[in-house]
Amino acid sequence: MSAYKTKGSVKERAELALNDDFLRKAVKFTTERLRIGKMNAAEQHGNWEEWRERGRQIRLHTIAHLDYYLNLFVENARANGVHVHFAPTGAEAVRIALAVAQSKAAKTVVKSKSMVTEELHLNHALQDIGVEAIETDLGEYIIQLAGETPSHIIIPAIHKNRYQIAELLSKEAGEALEADTTILAGFVRKKLREKFLEADIGMTGCNFAIAETGSMVLFENEGNARMVTTVPKTQITLMGMERIIPSWTDLEVMATLLPRSATGQKLTVYMSGITGPRRTEDADGPEEMHIIIVDNGRSNQLGDPEFQELLNCIRCGACLNACPVYRHIGGHAYGGTYSGPIGAVLTPALQKNVAEWDDIANASSLCGACYEACPVKIPLHDMLVYLRRRKVEAGHGKALETIGMRGFGTVAGQPGIMGAAVKLGQLGQRLVVRDGGIRLKVGPLKGWNKYRVAPTLAKRSFRQQWEALKRETANTGQTMDPVVKARMEAILKERAKGGGGRHG
C-alpha cells in the first residue's frame, strides 16, 4: 500500500500523543499488565530461552525454504477443497476478495481480527462496492465504530477508555449504555450474534498455516473467529505468505510462544485448526473456502540478510508492550498499520522505498527491550540502525545531521583534533555555564534542556589529568595477587588458541 501514508511525521504525531494524558495512561496501564503477564508466564513455563531459540529455528528454517513449504501448503489446501489465490500486491488481494464477494452477491461480511486486511484497507474496498464489513473482535468493533485503525496488534482499542467506548456503543444501540464492561460486552455479543447468523461471508486472517496438511490455524479468546469460520456459507482467509509452519508438531512451539508472549496466557481460549471447507455431510462450517496468499512487500525481505528475520514475526505484540517509546506515544503515532518496534521496522520494510520513509526508524532509543521480549528473537534494535544507515547511504540523511556527523568523524577520527576541540569547548562554555550547569535552549541543546540541565565539560579532562594520576598510582606499590595473575595469563592463552576468550 505505497499510496497509504499518514500525514505528518512520527515526531509530530508523537507530540500530539504526548499531550493526550488519557491515551498515555491507558496505554501505559495495559502494556504494563501485558508485559508483566508475559514475564510471569515465561518464567512459570521455564526454559524460556530454549523455547525462544526453538521458535526462532523453526521460523528461520521455514522462511529459508519458503518456496517449498508454501507450495506444499497450497497443494494440500487445494486437495482439501480450498480455493487458493495468489496476490503479489495488496491491490490484487483486494480484487480477488471483491470478485468473490460480488459473485456471491454478499450483503454482509463478518470479519475476525486480521492485520493483513488492515494492510489492504479491505473494509473500505468492501464498503465501496456496497458490502457491509463488520469487525467482530470486540476491540476491532469498537475501533470500527470510531472510524479509526487499531493502535495495537493484540489490543486494538488500547487507547480508548470505557467511557469513550460506552459513548460509541450507545450511539449504535440507540440508548444510553452504562460504562460497565459487562454491559458493553453484552450489548456487542447480542448485536453481533445477529450479524453472524445473517452474514454471507466470514473473513479471517491466519496465525499459522500448516504446510503438510494444508490447514490454517487461528488463535483467539472471544470465539468470534470460530463464529466467522463456522456460521457463514463462504469463508475467505487472507494470509501473509510467511505465515507457514511445516507441521502440527511445530505448532506446539508456536502455541507455547504466541499466547504467553501476547497476553501471558498458557493458551488462548480458542485455538482452531481448519482443514478445508465443511465435509459433505457436516451440518456447519463453510461450504466454500478461499485462502488468498498475500505478498504485499513481504518478499522485499527475502534474501536480504539484514531483514529476512522480520518474516519470522508471529505478531504477538510483545515488543509493543515492552517498548518504552510505544508506552508513551501509543500506536497511531507510528502512522502505519503496524506500530511499536515491529511497526517501526516493518512499515518501511514492506515498502520498497525503505530509505525514503519518514522518521519512523528514529522513534527508538535502541534500548533493545523489543529484542529481549521477542519470542522468536528478531533483532529489531539492529534493524532500526540498518534502516537509518540505508537512509543515509541513499542520500536521504538530514542535511544538518550529515554535516554534524561528518564533523564528528573528522574530530573523533583524529585524537589531536579531538583534544583541541575539547580545549576550545572548555573555554567557550564559560559563556553559558550557570551554577555548574547549562540551561540554554538553543541548537541541539534546545530539546535536551527542555527537560534537563546539561552538564558542563570538566575543567580538566581525564586526558589532561592522566600524567599526574599515573604518577600517583605508580607509587602505591601494590602487586597483583598471583592467583589473579595466573587467571589473566590463562585467559590470554585461551585467546591465543582461538575460540576461547569470549566472555559475557
Binding site: F29, T30, R33, N47, R54, Q57, H61, L66, D67, Y68, N71, A79, H85, F86, V100, D137, L138, G139, I142, P156, A157, N161, R162, I165, T181, A185, V188, R189, F196, E212, T213, G214, S215, N221, E222, G223, R226, M227, T230, M241, T249, E252, A255, K266, L267, T268, V269, Y270, M271, S272, G273, T275, R279, E281, D282, A283, D284, G285, I293, L302
Partner: protein
C-alpha cells in the same frame, strides 16, 4: 452474459495455477537459489526434547487440568461415570433453568439419558435431521453437550473434532458448554495431541479442530476481563473416570 459463480471459481482457479509457479519461482529467486522441491532437512521439528519427555501420571494430569481450567474461569469436575455426568447436567439444567439442550450425536452422550431425565426441556441431537438449520438450533440452545476427543492438562484445554455427528456450533453457540472428557483421553502436553494430526495425515483430518481452554473472554475494554463475549461464558469440563 454475466459470469456464474462456478465460472468465476474456474477462472480464478486457472489464474491461481498460472500464478503459483511464478510466485514460487520468485521466492526462490529472492532467496538466491533454485526452487526447493524435495523435503528439506528440518532438525528442529517440534518442541525441544526435554519437553517431549514430560508425561505426568494420571492423577497429576487431572489435578493440573482442573487447576488450569479453573484459573481461567472454567469449571472442572471429576465424575465416576456417564450416569453421574447425566445427573450433574440435569442438576445444572434445573439450576440455570435450561429449556433447550443440543448434544452431539454420540453413543456416550446418548447414555447421559438427558432426553428422559429432562422431560420439560427440549433435547436435540446434532444433525439427526439433515433438513434442520442446525446452526440456528445451536444458537438458540442454553446448553451444548459435547464429548471431548482429547484434553491437555498442561494448558487446561479440551479438544473437539468436527464431523457430521459433531457440530462445531455445539461447543460454540450455546450459552453454556458441557464437555465430557473420558479420563483416558486426558494427556499431559498439547504436543501429544498435535502430533496425532501429523500421523493421521491430511486426508484424515476433520474440517474443524478446536482447542477450548475455558470460557470465551475479552480484555479489549480497559484490559478488564469480560467473560462470554461470543462463545459460551459458562464452561464445564466433566472428567469421567
Amino acid at each position: 452474459m454475466a459470469e456464474t459463480h462456478q465460472e468465476l471459481l474456474a477462472r480464478l482457479e486457472r489464474e491461481s495455477r498460472a500464478k503459483q509457479e511464478q510466485f514460487m519461482n520468485f521466492i526462490a529467486g529472492k532467496l538466491g537459489r533454485p526452487r526447493v522441491t524435495a523435503p528439506p532437512q528440518h532438525p528442529f521439528r517440534g518442541a525441544p526434547d526435554f519437553w517431549n519427555a514430560l508425561e505426568w501420571p494420571l492423577e497429576e494430569r487431572v489435578a493440573k487440568f482442573t487447576e488450569n481450567f479453573k484459573a481461567v474461569g472454567g469449571q472442572a469436575i471429576r465424575l465416576s461415570g456417564i450416569v453421574e455426568a447425566g445427573a450433574f447436567i440435569v442438576s445444572k439444567a434445573a439450576e440455570m433453568s435450561a429449556r433447550y439442550i443440543v448434544r452431539q450425536d454420540q453413543q456416550s452422550l446418548a447414555e447421559l439419558g438427558l432426553e428422559s431425565l429432562l422431560p420439560e426441556a427440549r433435547v436435540s441431537v446434532w444433525n439427526e435431521d439433515p433438513n434442520e438449520d442446525w446452526k440456528a438450533c445451536a444458537a438458540e440452545a442454553d446448553f451444548g453437550v459435547v464429548l471431548a476427543d482429547y484434553a491437555a492438562a498442561y494448558t487446561g484445554s479440551i479438544t473437539v473434532l468436527s464431523d457430521k455427528t459433531k457440530g462445531r456450533s455445539v461447543s460454540l453457540l450455546p450459552t453454556a458448554l458441557f464437555a465430557l472428557i473420558p479420563i483416558e483421553r486426558l494427556k499431559t502436553r498439547l504436543g501429544e495431541i498435535l502430533s496425532d494430526f501429523d500421523r493421521a495425515g491430511r486426508e484424515n483430518l476433520p474440517a474443524g479442530i478446536h482447542f477450548i481452554s475455558g470460557p470465551s473472554r475479552s480484555a479489549d475494554i480497559e484490559n478488564d476481563l469480560t467473560i462470554g463475549v461470543h462463545g459460551p461464558g459458562i464452561v464445564y469440563a466433566l472428567i469421567i473416570g
